[in-house]
C-alpha cells in the first residue's frame, strides 16, 4: 500500500504538467470537447455553423469582412484550424512579393485561406483550390462566392490531392505552378510534394508554403526538404492559429530545380 505522503509528493509534478501544457488542454477543450457538444446539440457540422455565423455577420462581396467574421468565430466561439490572421499576414506578404499567376491550394477546408489568397492575387491570376471533402467543399464554394470571387479567379476542385496533382496538366491545362499552399493532411505533405516534383509543375522560383509544419507537424516533410537540396527553405516561426502559446511554423520553400 502506497502511503499518502508519497502520493502527495507527486503533486508538484502534476501541477507542473498542468501549467506547462495548459495551452494543449485549452486546445483539446476547444477543438474537441466543444465541437462534439455542439455537433450533438445543433445537428450541424462545425463548418456549417461557421458559415451561418459568417453569413449573418459579414458583408457579402467584402473579403476582409468575411475573413474578420471567420477570425471572430474561430477565436470567440469555436475552433477551426484556419490559417488565422497572424500567419495569414505572412502569407499575404509572400503573395504580394511573388505575385504569382497560377496558385494551387491543397486543402481548402471552408474557404478561409482561398479568400485570403484570392484577394492578394494580381489581376488575371488563377487560384486552384483542392478539397477532398464534399461537404466542406460546398461550404468553401459558398464562402468564396460570397466573397465575390468568380469561377475565373478561384476554381474549386473536389477530389483528393494525390489524384488531382497528376491530372493538373492534362485536365486543367497548367504548365507551371507559381505558388503552392499546403494546408491539408499533414501526412500528405511529403507525397504531394514529390508528386508535384514528378509532374514537372514546379519551375525554378516556384514557391511552396506549408502550414502547420511544427504543430501538428510534418517531420518527414521537413526532413525530406532539408535533405533533397532542391529547395531554398526557411521556417517562419509563429504560434498556432487562435491559440496562444503553442508554437507552430510555416515552411517556405523556393524550388531551385536540379542543378
Amino acid at each position: 500500500m502506497v502511503s499518502p505522503a508519497i502520493a502527495l509528493a507527486f503533486l508538484p509534478l502534476v501541477v507542473t504538467l498542468i501549467i506547462r501544457y495548459r495551452y494543449y488542454f485549452v486546445l483539446f477543450y476547444r477543438a474537441f470537447l466543444v465541437r462534439v457538444w455542439q455537433d450533438c446539440a445543433t445537428g450541424l457540422s462545425r463548418e456549417e455553423r461557421a458559415f451561418q455565423y459568417v453569413l449573418t455577420n459579414a458583408t457579402p462581396g467584402d473579403p476582409d469582412s468575411i475573413l474578420e467574421a471567420f477570425d471572430q468565430w474561430c477565436s470567440k466561439v469555436e475552433f477551426i484550424s484556419n490559417i488565422g490572421p497572424k500567419k495569414g499576414k505572412i502569407l499575404d506578404r509572400l503573395l504580394m512579393e511573388q505575385s504569382p499567376m497560377t496558385v494551387l491550394e491543397l486543402g481548402a477546408h471552408c474557404g478561409y485561406s482561398a479568400v485570403r489568397m484570392a484577394r492578394c492575387l494580381p489581376l488575371g491570376a488563377r487560384l486552384y483550390s483542392v478539397e477532398m471533402d464534399q461537404r466542406n467543399a460546398t461550404i468553401a464554394e459558398k464562402v468564396i462566392r460570397l466573397a465575390g470571387f468568380d469561377d475565373d479567379t478561384v476554381e474549386l476542385i473536389v477530389s483528393p490531392s494525390d489524384e488531382v496533382i497528376p491530372r493538373l496538366r492534362s485536365d486543367y491545362g497548367l504548365e507551371t505552378v507559381d505558388f503552392v499552399f499546403m494546408d491539408h493532411w499533414k501526412k500528405c505533405y511529403l507525397p504531394d510534394l514529390q508528386l508535384l516534383e514528378g509532374s514537372g509543375l514546379l519551375g525554378k522560383g516556384s514557391m511552396i508554403l506549408a502550414d502547420n509544419v511544427l504543430f501538428p507537424g510534418a517531420p518527414n516533410f521537413l526532413r525530406y526538404v532539408r535533405k533533397s537540396g532542391l529547395y531554398e527553405w526557411r521556417i517562419h516561426q509563429a504560434t498556432l492559429e487562435y491559440i496562444r502559446g503553442i508554437r507552430d511554423g510555416m515552411a517556405e520553400l523556393v524550388y531551385q530545380g536540379i542543378k
Binding site: 508519497i6 509528493a9 509534478l13 507542473t16 511544427l214 504543430f215
Partner: protein
C-alpha cells in the same frame, strides 16, 4: 651565369649526393614531399610569390630551390598539370644565359624595391595569382626578368650549400640517381660569406615570420601555406648555417632541439590522454556547448576530491582496522546480536545496511577503543578522529583554492555597459562542433539580440513595471508556498517514521519504511520543475532566471536536508535515553550474572559469555551513519531511475512512436529532454554535502560516493549523448564555475556544522566506536598528548591553547584579512581607473585617425585634381615609362604616390573609364 655553367660540369655528381643527403636528413619531410611538390607545381609559382613579408629575396631562394627539384623530376613524370608553367620555365632556362647581363642590372632594382614590396605583399598575393594565370602581361614579364636574376643567385646559394653537405653525407640514394642530368639547371658554386649572411638573415626572418604568423590578417589558407613553406625552408637551410667545424655540431644541435620539442609535444599529448574522460567531455562539449560540459568537468573534479577522501578513510581507518584490529566476533560490538543472527545475511537486511553490514568496518560502531592496534602500534582512535577532521579540512582547502584560482581567471568585462558589443563579438561558443547545436546557438543569439533590443526599448518605456513587479512578488510567494509545503510534508513523514520506528519496523510495508527517503527524493525531483514553470511568470533574463532557479532549488534542498537532520537529532536523543536505560540494566545484568554463576569461590575463572549474547546500547553513531548511507543509496537510485525513465524511455518512445502518431512527437509536445544543468549540479553538490556530514559516522561513505560518481559519469555521458537534445538556450558557462564552487563552499559549511555540533556536544556511546568510554570524542587528542608526547610538548600545547594567546592570534588574523581586503579593493579601483584611461585613449586615437583619414582624403582630392589637369601630359609619359623601365615598376601600383606617375584606375576616387577616355582622346587626335 657563366659561373653557373662551369659548376654544372664540375659538381653534377656532388649535387646528386647532396640531394641524397637531404633525403637522408630530412627524410620524414621528403616522404610526403612527392605529393606536396606535385601539388605545389599545380598551383604554380604564384602562390609562393604572394606568400609573405619575409623578404622577396629569401622567397626566391626557396622557390628556386624547389624549382630545381621540380625540374629534376619534370622529365621523369609526364604530367598534364602545370604545362604552361613548365614551358615558361624552359623558356627561362634558354633565356637565362642571354639575358644575364640585363638581369644583373635589374637585380639591383629588385632589391631596392624589396622593402616597398614587403609592405604590399599581402595585397599583391591575389592580384599576382590572377596575373600568373592570365597570359603573359608585359609587366609580369619584366618582373619575371627581375626575379629570375634573384633566382639565379638563390640557385647558386643552394647548390653551394649542397656542395658543402657532400662532405657530411655518406649515403647515396638510388632514386635520385636518374635525376642526375636534370640537375644541370642548378649551378653550385662556393658560398661567399655575404651570401651566407644573407641566408642567415633569411632564416631569421622566416623564424620571425612563423612566430608572428598568428597575428597576421590573412586568410587561413594563406597562413597555412606560408607556415608550411617557412618551416620547410628552415628545415632545409638551418642546418647549413654553421661555419667550418661547428657546422656538424650545429646541425646536430638543431636536430636535437627539434627532437626535444617533438618529444615535449608528444608528452603533452600523452598528458592530455591521461586526463580521465577528457575525450568524452570534449565530445559532449562539442555537441552541447560548454554549459553542459562544465557540469561534467565539475563531476570529474568532484570525483578527484572523493578519490582523495576515499584514500584517506580507506587507507588510514578501514584497512588498519580490518587487518590489525580485533577480528569479527571477538567482542560484543563486533558481533551480530543473537536476536538478529537469523536474518543478518538476508538481502533485504543487507540492502538496508543492517545485519552483517552494520557490524563491519563500514560503520562507526564496529571500531574498538583500544589505544594502539597491531604490531605497528597504530593509534586507531586518534587516526579515526584526525581522518574525520582531515577530510573536512582538506575539502575546505581544495574548494577555497579552486575558488581563488577561478576568481583570477574570470572577472573581465562588466556585463552592463557595451551590451550589444559583447553580444556581437563574444556570443559564439567556439567549442561547438555539431551542426544542430550550432543551429540552436545561432537561433539563441538572434533571439538574444531581439530580446536585448526589446529590453532596450522597454527600459525606455517601462510602463508595465507594476505588473512585472506584481508578477515577481507573486512568483516568489508561490515558490515560498511550495517550499513550505514540501518542508511540512517532510516533517510529517519524518514524524510518522519515528512512530513506525517505535512500533517496530517489521510491522510496516517497504513503502512505509522508505517513506522519508522516497518523499525527499521525489520532492527534490519535482519541485524544481514547478519552480521552473513559476519562474516564467517573472520574465527575467535567462541568466538571472537561472540564478534564481538555482537559489530556489538550493533553498529546497537545504530545507529538506535540515529537516532530515533535525529529525535525526530527535532520534539521537531518543537513542541516548535508551542508552541510559541499557546502561542501568547492564549493571544489573552483570551483577546477576556473577551472582548467579559464581556462588562460592571467587578464584574460579570468570564465566565466558558469547559476545552475541551480551546486551548492548543502541549506538546512535552507527544509526546516523546508516541513515546517511541509506539516503545516499536511495538518492542515487532515484537519479538513475529518473535518468532511465525520464530520459531514455522517453527518448525511445518519442523516437519510435513518431512513425505512427498524429503529431510530431520529436518537435512538438513530449520531445526529447534537455540536459538539466542546474538540477544536476545541485544534486551533485548536495550529495557531496551528505557525504561530508555522514563520513565521520560511516567511513564507507566516500567509497560509496566514488562508486556512484564513477557510474554516473559513464551513465550520464551515455545518456546525454544518446537521449538528450542540445538546449534551446545554449549559454556559455565561463562564469558559472565559481558559482558552483561558492555553493559548494556554503554546503560544505552547512554540512560540517551539524557534524561538528554532534562531535562536540554529544558524548559518544559507551559500548561502541573508537571513542567509547570517553566523555567527549575530542578527548582522544588530549589523551594522546598526555601519553604519547613528552611532557614539555603538552605543556607548550596547553599554553598555546590558552585563551590569552588564542585571542590575540585570532585578532591578528582578522586584522590581516581586513588589510588584504582593503588592498585588493584599492587595486580594483586602480584597475577601473586604468580601464577608464584606456577607453579615453582609445577615443582619442579614434579621433586622431579620423582626422588623419580626412586629411588623406583631402590630399587625394587634390592629387586627383592635379592629375586631371596633367592628364594629357601624364599618359604618354606613362607608356614610355613602362616600356623603358620594366623592372623598376611594381606590378600593381598601390599607393597613391604612383598616382603622380599617372597609374590609371588605381586611385579610389577615379573610375577607370574616365582615364581611358583621357587616354584615348589624344590618340584619336593624333591619328
Amino acid at each position: 651565369m657563366t659561373k653557373c655553367g662551369v659548376s654544372v660540369l664540375t659538381t653534377g655528381d656532388e649535387d646528386e649526393v647532396s640531394s641524397c643527403y637531404e633525403e637522408h636528413e630530412w627524410g620524414k619531410n621528403r616522404v610526403k614531399g612527392r605529393e606536396k611538390e606535385r601539388e605545389k607545381k599545380k598551383r604554380g609559382n604564384a602562390r609562393k610569390k604572394g606568400a609573405s613579408r619575409a623578404g622577396r629575396g629569401d622567397e626566391e631562394l626557396e622557390e628556386r630551390a624547389e624549382r630545381g627539384e621540380k625540374g629534376r623530376r619534370r622529365r621523369k613524370r609526364d604530367n598534364h598539370d602545370g604545362k604552361g608553367r613548365e614551358r615558361d620555365e624552359e623558356e627561362q632556362a634558354e633565356e637565362k644565359s642571354g639575358r644575364a647581363a640585363k638581369n644583373k642590372k635589374n637585380l639591383k632594382n629588385e632589391r631596392t624595391r624589396k622593402m616597398e614590396q614587403e609592405e604590399r605583399d599581402t595585397e599583391e598575393g591575389d592580384a599576382k595569382r590572377k596575373k600568373k594565370n592570365e597570359s603573359a602581361k608585359r609587366e609580369e614579364k619584366k618582373e619575371d626578368g627581375g626575379k629570375r636574376a634573384v633566382k639565379e643567385k638563390a640557385n647558386a646559394v643552394k647548390t653551394k650549400k649542397h656542395k658543402k653537405k657532400v662532405e657530411t653525407s655518406e649515403e647515396e640514394d638510388v632514386e635520385e640517381e636518374e635525376e642526375e642530368e636534370k640537375e644541370k639547371e642548378l649551378r653550385p658554386e662556393s658560398l661567399s660569406p655575404e651570401e651566407l649572411e644573407k641566408l642567415k638573415e633569411a632564416v631569421d626572418e622566416k623564424k620571425k615570420l612563423i612566430q608572428t604568423l598568428r597575428g597576421k590578417p590573412w586568410p587561413m589558407k594563406k597562413k597555412l601555406s606560408t607556415l608550411r613553406e617557412s618551416q620547410e625552408f628552415l628545415e632545409k637551410y638551418e642546418g647549413a648555417l654553421g661555419k667550418g667545424k661547428g657546422r656538424r655540431l650545429y646541425a646536430y644541435k638543431v636536430m636535437m632541439t627539434k627532437k626535444w620539442m617533438k618529444f615535449q609535444r608528444d608528452f603533452e599529448n600523452f598528458k592530455t590522454a591521461c586526463i580521465p574522460w577528457e575525450m568524452k567531455i570534449k565530445e559532449i562539449e562539442s555537441h552541447f556547448g560548454s554549459s553542459v560540459a562544465s557540469y561534467f568537468i565539475f563531476l570529474r573534479w568532484m570525483y578527484g576530491i572523493n578519490m582523495i577522501l576515499f584514500g584517506l578513510t580507506f587507507g588510514l581507518v578501514m584497512v588498519p582496522e580490518a587487518l590489525m584490529g580485533r577480528p569479527y566476533g571477538s567482542m560484543p560490538r563486533k558481533t551480530v546480536p543473537r536476536a538478529d543472527e537469523a536474518s543478518a545475511m538476508d538481502f533485504a537486511v543487507l540492502w538496508d545496511f543492517g545485519g552483517y553490514a552494520q557490524y563491519s568496518v563500514l560503520f562507526y560502531g564496529y571500531y574498538n577503543n583500544q589505544r594502539a592496534i597491531g604490531w605497528l602500534k597504530f593509534r586507531m582512535p586518534l587516526s579515526y578522529f584526525l581522518v574525520g577532521v582531515g577530510t573536512v579540512a582538506y575539502s575546505y582547502m581544495v574548494v577555497i583554492r579552486t575558488m581563488a584560482r577561478n576568481a583570477n581567471e574570470s572577472g573581465g568585462g562588466d556585463d552592463n555597459s557595451f551590451n550589444f558589443s559583447w553580444k556581437m563579438f563574444t556570443s559564439w561558443d567556439y567549442l561547438i562542433g555539431n551542426p544542430e547545436t550550432a543551429d540552436n546557438k545561432f537561433a539563441s543569439i538572434t533571439t538574444s539580440f531581439k530580446e536585448a533590443i526589446l529590453e532596450e526599448q522597454e527600459s525606455r518605456k517601462d510602463d508595465n513595471i507594476h505588473l512585472t513587479r506584481f508578477l515577481r512578488v507573486l512568483a516568489n510567494f508561490l515558490v515560498m508556498c511550495c517550499l513550505a509545503g514540501s518542508g511540512y510534508l517532510i516533517y510529517f513523514v519524518v514524524r510518522r517514521s519515528q512512530k513506525f520506528a517505535l512500533d517496530g519496523l517489521d510491522n510496516h510495508s517497504w513503502w512505509e519504511r522508505n517513506e522519508v527517503n522516497m518523499v525527499m527524493s521525489l520532492l527534490g525531483m519535482f519541485c524544481p520543475m514547478l519552480f521552473d514553470v513559476i519562474s516564467t511568470l517573472e520574465n527575467y533574463h535567462p541568466r538571472i532566471a537561472l540564478q534564481w532557479q538555482l537559489g530556489r532549488i538550493f533553498a529546497l534542498f537545504l530545507g529538506n536536508l535540515y529537516t532530515f537532520i533535525i529529525a535525526l537529532m530527535d532520534e539521537i536523543n531518543l537513542k541516548r535515553k535508551e542508552e541510559e536505560i541499557v546502561k542501568f540494566n547492564m549493571t544489573v545484568w552483570e551483577a546477576s550474572l556473577y551472582n548467579g554463576t559464581v556462588p562460592e569461590n571467587s578464584t574460579a575463572p570468570p564465566v565466558t559469555i558469547h559476545p552475541a549474547d551480551v546486551p548492548r546500547g543502541p549506538c546512535w553513531e552507527t544509526m546516523v551513519g546508516q541513515e546517511f548511507v541509506r539516503l545516499i543509496i536511495s538518492d542515487t537510485m532515484t537519479t538513475y531511475i529518473t535518468l532511465l525513465i525520464g530520459d531514455f524511455l522517453r527518448a525511445v518512445l518519442v523516437r519510435f512512436l513518431n512513425y505512427c502518431w498524429c503529431w510530431d512527437l520529436e518537435a512538438g509536445f513530449p520531445s526529447y529532454s534537455e540536459f538539466d544543468v542546474s538540477g544536476n549540479v545541485l544534486g551533485l553538490i548536495f550529495n557531496q554535502g551528505m557525504i561530508w556530514m555522514g563520513a565521520f559516522y560511516a567511513p564507507c561513505l566516500p567509497a560509496l560516493n566514488v562508486l556512484r560518481l564513477h557510474v554516473s559519469m559513464y551513465l550520464q555521458c551515455w545518456a546525454v549523448m544518446c537521449c538528450n537534445v542540445p538546449q534551446e538556450r545554449v549559454f556559455k558557462a565561463s562564469g558559472s564555475n565559481n558559482f558552483y564552487m561558492a555553493m559548494l563552499l556554503v554546503i560544505l559549511f552547512l554540512s560540517t556544522l551539524p557534524a561538528i555540533y554532534t562531535i562536540v556536544t554529544i558524548p559518544p556511546s559507551f559500548d561502541c566506536g573508537p571513542f567509547s568510554g570517553k566523555s567527549r570524542m575530542f578527548d582522544v587528542i588530549q589523551e594522546t598528548l598526555e601519553s604519547d608526547f613528552p611532557a614539555w610538548f603538552s605543556k607548550v600545547f596547553s599554553y598555546a591553547s590558552n585563551p590569552g594567546l588564542v585571542l590575540p592570534f585570532l585578532l591578528l588574523m582578522v586584522l590581516a584579512i581586513y588589510y588584504l581586503q582593503s588592498t585588493s579593493k584599492s587595486f580594483k579601483e586602480a584597475n577601473v581607473e586604468l580601464k577608464k584611461k584606456l577607453q579615453m585613449q582609445n577615443e582619442e586615437n579614434k579621433k586622431k585617425s579620423k582626422r588623419a583619414a580626412l586629411k588623406a582624403a583631402m590630399d587625394l582630392e587634390e592629387a586627383r585634381k592635379a592629375m586631371t589637369q596633367n592628364g594629357r601630359n601624364a599618359t604618354p609619359l606613362l607608356t614610355d615609362q613602362e616600356g623603358q623601365l620594366p623592372a623598376t615598376r611594381a606590378p600593381v601600383p598601390r599607393t597613391y604616390h604612383h598616382g603622380n606617375h599617372g597609374a590609371p584606375g588605381y586611385l579610389p576616387g577615379i573610375p577607370r573609364q574616365t582615364e581611358a577616355r583621357v587616354h584615348r582622346a589624344p590618340s584619336l587626335q593624333r591619328h
